[in-house]
């Protein structure tokens, strides 16, 4: 083979992380969707054309405007009590967003902390935390949530705490497993022989390495949490009606599905799907961004 005189052009150094390369591949679609939902949630009072909690019984089950019988007054139709679906969706964003994200974060923080403690400390700490987790997981999530809601009474913030208390176990399980393999890694042993305390090792070496798994799990849990919140609302122990929530709208509308009132379920369903999907995509992007090895590929 002959030597070519071509100079090899190296790609620009990846370690000089300019602002452009850092922001260049932001996942625009999920960000826009989440921004729209957040915007709706914040400015619901201004955006909603009607009062979401009051309807006219004379105008029940109006279809969206493009179907026969629909009017521009109720663009996305009305529900079984004649309430404007668009307004309810806009106000529902508030509940779903607050409940969904805070419950997932609350559960994530509790579960991750307990999972790290159980996995890293081992011994009796591990036994105690994991037996509690096992017992917790053995309880049916929804029944357990109903039980808790019946004790503390339904309100939006109570629901957040209840959902957090019900779902932390999943994080604890996943995180503990990850920690068990991490703590045998050579860099953790190096930290030990370098004189780091257990607390320092957990904070500086273990936590950053499990955050990725926790984030992925959180994006998956978001959907579960929103649907559970809906089930609780449906059973009368969730966010109390007539406050609109997407999950509640979904369960309220499901009887109408058989007789053709599709907009009562499909529209809130789409909203939930878009939010969960966006959170998933964003979580996935974040996971890649948090890993220095994947970041530069």
């Amino acid at each position: 083979m002959s030597m070519s005189s071509e100079t090899i052009v190296l790609p620009p150094s990846v370690s000089t992380r300019s602002a452009a390369s850092r922001l260049g591949d932001l996942p625009m679609i999920p960000i826009i969707i989440l921004a729209v939902i957040a915007f709706m949630a914040i400015f619901a009072d201004v955006l909603a054309p009607h009062n979401p909690e009051v309807g006219a019984l004379t105008a029940r089950f109006k279809p969206p405007f493009w179907q026969t019988g629909g009017t521009m007054d109720h663009i996305l139709g009305t529900d079984q009590l004649g309430r404007d679906v668009l307004s309810r969706l806009i106000f529902g964003a508030r509940v779903s967003m607050v409940v969904g994200f805070t419950a997932v974060i609350f559960a994530g923080v509790v579960g991750t902390v307990l999972g790290i403690l159980a996995g890293y400390l081992g011994g009796w700490a591990d036994q105690v935390i994991m037996r509690i987790t096992d017992a917790w997981l053995a309880l049916p999530a929804l029944t357990f949530a109903i039980f808790l809601a019946a004790i503390v009474g339904p309100s939006m913030w109570n629901i957040v705490i209840i959902l957090g208390l019900v779902y932390w176990t999943r994080y604890a399980r996943v995180v503990r497993g990850e920690v068990l393999s991490l703590k045998e890694r050579e860099f953790v042993r190096l930290a030990i022989v370098a004189g780091c305390s257990k607390a320092t090792i957990m904070r500086r070496h273990i936590l950053p390495n499990v955050v990725n798994s926790a984030i992925v799990l959180a994006t998956l849990m978001l959907g579960v949490v929103i649907v559970t919140e809906a089930s609780l609302s449906f059973l009368g122990v969730g966010v109390p009606p007539p406050k609109p929530a997407w999950g509640l709208m979904l369960s309220d509308g499901k009887q109408g599905l058989m007789v053709g009132y599709w907009w009562l379920t499909v529209l809130p369903g789409c909203c939930i799907m878009l939010m969960v999907l966006s959170a998933n995509l964003l979580g996935d992007w974040l996971r890649v961004k948090l890993d220095p090895q994947l970041r530069q590929l």
């Binding site: 081992g122 050579e186 370098a194 004189g195 500086r204």
Partner: protein, 335 residues
């Protein structure tokens, strides 16, 4: 105990570390009645085959043993303090600051999520409470000390952006970050190819000279011992079978095991067709045979070897050997 000026930096007396099974029925004597000493600026090589207790000995010195293992007896005097009696908190201030260690697989010793500067600076921040920015500057100097080109860029990079030899030197930099008095290197070159190995060894030697630190070098490579070490400790089945100055042991090994080890090194001038290997397997450390633990594989074993465990005999020239033959030689030499 009174401090004497020429007391060795680290003095280990009759140290035993055993692994005990969960039921307490099986006891593995990984380190059994080991004594050794090392002075400042000296290099001590510890050789032995896999499972002879070399690494357990190193972990015992830093008291970072796995939960199943424990130090059952003995003393470890380091700068006139007994390491065995220290509390965990006190030990933490020794680790990384006064005694540092380089692990068996330096390639995996770096946390993939943090920059090099962050990790090299970590011991400094932990032990000296230095602020992040100052620790970062120190990290830069340390990278320079381990001959990493353009340290200013390297500190901002992540472990996966480095080659194996570079990562290894970085682990070395972490080791000397707090200017320890003693550095324990546990087979630091096994994962490297020969040229990088040679570079790394000469780097370690230079660092040792510049900082006046004592080095304990754990290896199974006698070639490295010949090149690096002043003193040698040969371990077999958890015990020290022979110790003394490297040149003397290489010239005239006193213990048949050392002899066999030296014979199994391939040599350029060799006209043997096959390498000599040591027949048999090392004994099970949880049920050691009566007598000398090497007796079953020893070509020179006689009756007494199978019945009585030889004690550590002190020979001339600061040497010791755990062999009945050594005692015979000593007596015949004296006579």
């Amino acid at each position: 105990m009174a401090a004497t000026p020429n007391r060795p930096l680290l003095e280990i007396d009759n140290l035993s570390t055993h692994y005990v099974s969960a039921q307490g029925t099986r006891v593995v004597r990984a380190v059994d009645d080991v004594s050794l000493r090392i002075s400042a600026g000296e290099t001590l090589g510890i050789v032995g085959e896999s499972g002879s207790g070399k690494s357990t000995l190193a972990l015992s010195i830093l008291r970072v043993l796995p939960p199943a293992a424990q130090i059952v007896s003995g003393q470890m005097w380091f700068e006139n303090e007994d390491l065995v009696r220290k509390t965990d908190t006190e030990m933490r201030h020794v680790r990384g600051k006064r005694i540092a260690m380089i692990l068996q697989d330096p390639m995996a010793s770096l946390n993939p999520l943090f920059t090099i500067g962050n990790q090299v600076g970590e011991p400094i921040r932990v032990h000296e409470g230095t602020r992040r920015a100052a620790a970062w500057r120190r990290a830069c100097d340390l990278l320079k000390a381990v001959r990493i080109p353009s340290p200013e860029t390297r500190v901002t990079q992540f472990p996966h952006e480095m080659s194996g030899g570079m990562r290894q030197r970085i682990v070395g930099a972490i080791g000397i970050a707090c200017e320890p008095r003693l550095l324990i290197a546990d087979e630091p070159t096994t994962s490297l190819d020969l040229t990088i190995q040679a570079q790394y060894l000469s780097l370690l030697r230079d660092l040792q000279r510049e900082h006046g630190l004592a080095l304990i070098f754990i290896t199974h490579n006698l070639g490295i011992v010949a090149k690096m070490c002043d003193q040698l400790v040969v371990m077999y089945a958890g015990r020290v079978v022979e110790s003394g100055p490297v040149s003397r042991i290489f010239n005239a090994p006193a213990h048949p095991y050392t002899k066999a080890l030296l014979n199994s090194i391939p040599r350029m001038t060799d006209n043997r067709n096959r390498l000599t290997a040591i027949e048999g397997q090392p004994p099970d450390l949880s049920s050691l045979p009566r007598g000398c633990s090497f007796a079953a594989r020893c070509p020179a074993a006689f009756d007494r070897c199978h019945k009585e465990t030889p004690p550590e005999f002190n020979l001339e020239g600061g040497r010791t050997a755990r062999c009945w033959l050594a005692s015979v030689a000593m007596q015949s030499g004296a006579a």
